[in-house]
């Protein structure tokens, strides 16, 4: 299945902005961008004007440790913390991660921190951990249910907000004990 780009972008393709920036790949040769540590960045939001959208296409992986900054971020592929802490930044709070793909952390000591709202956009969306941790605080399952695997925790510093349908995979635990305040909308 090919990556489906947001329809509204056809109306925003003007010359006064920078983005969107799109990463495309294939099942036969899946590409990846590896951020190698805390001073490693991937950003479409250097400037406070115009379109700051980042589209991570199907079969493409953003991985490692460092910082991903976009407003908004459309994820059709995989975003994976596997070299330390990988943070999806939040320069504009109202700008979510539209998740069609997988948000994950693999291996002990690796954490994916999602400092943005995650809005599930397809039945195949998945937030999970393969031995690491994934921190979330704002999950929207209104368009599609949010699918949670094991190892997902609430953010230690941000209030937990849940809206719509949240599916926790059988045998998995969604740990919400890290923060005392939770909102179920």
């Amino acid at each position: 299945m090919a990556t489906i780009l947001p329809e509204f972008m056809s109306n925003l393709n003007m010359g006064n902005s920078a983005g969107p920036l799109t990463f495309l790949s294939s099942a036969a040769n899946p590409g990846n961008i590896t951020l190698m540590g805390p001073n490693s960045n991937l950003s479409t939001a250097l400037y406070n004007t115009g379109i700051r959208t980042l589209i991570n296409g199907e079969n493409h992986t953003i991985q490692g440790a460092g910082n991903v900054t976009a407003s908004p971020l459309y994820n059709y592929g995989t975003i994976l913390a596997n070299l330390g802490t990988l943070t999806i930044q939040n320069p504009f709070p109202s700008s979510p991660v539209y998740n069609f793909g997988t948000l994950s952390a693999a291996g002990a000591g690796n954490t994916l921190v999602v400092n943005k709202q995650v809005r599930a956009m397809s039945d195949t969306n998945l937030i999970k951990s393969d031995g690491g941790k994934v921190q979330v605080y704002d999950l929207y399952g209104d368009a599609s249910p949010v699918n949670l695997g094991n190892g997902v925790k609430s953010h230690p510093n941000l209030d937990l907000n849940l809206l719509g349908k949240i599916n926790v995979t059988s045998g998995s635990v969604f740990n919400t004990e890290l923060h005392s305040k939770g909102y179920f909308l």
Binding site: N13, A18, L21, S25, I33, S40, T44, R52
Partner: protein
């Protein structure tokens, strides 16, 4: 309504201005070196010079290749499956300056590694407003 010549000339001039892109056209570059090397080396590319902010580039050698992309700028980039591109400073994607204002796109079938320098230094892939 009968158009006077000055009006006709104005209309034709305006129409022409709308049809002709204001900025420079994109140039297509191919990586012609059999292996790896530096983005900034002219000899590694087809054509004149190296790819810039309005340009489209393809790096698809038939053997494994490491390409140093430090300081590079481009509009659209295709990376083949044999390629590992290293970024130790900045790598910038730009929206194309002239119509149709092509959005920056990476067709990535290989690997891009963005370093994490020490201290207050950083490295990254960034997108920037139209150039030109």
């Amino acid at each position: 309504m009968k158009l006077r010549p000055i009006w006709l000339i104005s209309v034709l001039f305006l129409a022409g201005a709308l049809l002709v892109p204001a900025g420079s056209q994109a140039t297509y570059y191919d990586w012609t070196t059999s292996g790896g090397g530096n983005w900034s080396t002219d000899a590694n590319w087809s054509g004149t010079g190296i790819p810039g902010a309005n340009d489209q580039a393809t790096i698809n050698p038939t053997v494994a290749a490491v390409v140093n992309g430090n300081g590079a700028s481009v509009n659209t980039l295709t990376i083949g499956s044999q390629v590992t591109m290293t970024v130790g400073s900045d790598f910038s994607f730009y929206k194309m300056a002239s119509t149709p204002y092509s959005d920056p796109t990476l067709y990535n079938y290989g690997t891009i590694q963005v370093a994490s320098p020490g201290g207050y230094n950083s490295a990254g892939i960034y997108v920037k407003p139209k150039h030109g």
